[in-house]
Symmetry: C2
Subunit: 217 residues, 2 copies
């Protein structure tokens, strides 16, 4: 393997190893020695790539932002209606949380945020903006009522999704997450879809539990 590729592979192992440790014991109790052990590298090699625990945490959060952005882009390139895209993105993010330790670690780090001063790259802000664009398109397409404030609905959808994830995580270790998310959309859609479009759009909630949703486009 050429040197640069080897360096990139090592860096990747370290980020994955640190995600496992952060997820397991939280930011404060994570030690560089644990991360080195979990990554299968020496502390020296680790310090060559990351100069602090905070740098490791940032790398995990950035890695996850890329993964989340990738889910969004995959769905957006699928040619779905805007409302269907919103449902598919929330389903894709939930599947990621169920399957990917990196994502769960990033969420845990974000929740423990208050001491970490990661605020300059708050994940929710970007997510809310993407959502706003889609809600505006949904209004234009007639699938969301035009008397609803676009920004308010976008923020509410992100918040509701986040709360469903949090409560499912605490109460059921996320085992019921997709079911709860489908229920969320079942509760929310009748209030935001114009009454004469209910037949056309209320069924979108059922998309959530189709395994391929969000992961393919």
């Amino acid at each position: 393997m050429p040197q640069q590729a080897r360096a990139q592979a090592t860096r990747k192992s370290i980020v994955e190893g640190s995600a496992k440790v952060f997820l397991d014991v939280g930011y404060a109790r994570t030690t560089i020695a644990q991360v080195a052990a979990a990554s299968g590298v020496t502390k020296g090699a680790l310090y060559f790539h990351f100069d602090s625990k905070e740098a490791l945490a940032r790398a995990v959060i950035e890695e996850n932002l890329s993964a989340t952005t990738a889910i969004g882009l995959r769905v957006l390139s699928g040619g779905y209606s805007a409302l269907e895209s919103l449902v598919r993105i929330s389903a894709g993010i939930a599947s990621e949380l169920i399957e990917e330790p990196m994502t769960r670690a990033a969420v845990r780090l974000t929740m423990e945020d208050s001491d970490l001063q990661f605020r300059e790259d708050v994940p929710y802000v970007e997510w809310i903006k993407t959502c706003e664009t889609l809600v505006q398109r949904a209004v234009d397409e007639g699938s969301v009522r035009d008397d609803i404030d676009v920004q308010t609905l976008a923020r509410f959808l992100v918040s509701a999704h986040t709360g469903v994830d949090t409560v499912s995580g605490i109460v059921a270790d996320r085992e019921d997450l997709l079911q709860r998310l489908q229920e969320m959309w079942t509760m929310v859609l009748p209030g935001i879809v114009p009454p004469d479009k209910h037949v056309q759009y209320l069924g979108l909630a059922h998309l959530v539990r189709q395994p391929e949703v969000g992961t393919q486009a």
Copy 2:
């Protein structure tokens, strides 16, 4: 002060002091010495009341459960309709989170839960049950559609409230929490109130931002 009253006052100071420290630095980094200093007691006095950091964390969470239960009871004894009670309880809990370090500390400890094994007294479970009782009453009173599953709606309301709190906390340090909560009810009510009752019940969302709501009955 008689000896028992003095002991109770000391215990109260310690629980309040530990809430401040937990809120400030999180569970993992909290030390008994910091709690003793924040409480104005000696480490000896502290150990007389609490034998471990985990016992302190449990006391904060229990104290907060009592406060949340008290909000619920105050609202429930107010003679409001069930749907109005649901709105008032969520407003009351939000106000408590804005004003009370004890409540914020308990929420932080719950979020950091995964290592703390506080699972036997998961706060959400009780809250969802209370909500279920109120949603069933709201269905009986005709303010919530009778084709909605009571348990599902109860869990969704608790989840949505939790997410609104989380996102407001991360993005705006809870400064916009009451506004976001009003928006949540504005988004949710049209979907759950029967269409012929919209005029009567949709205005309940505005209750959230009245300062006395939830704190009095």
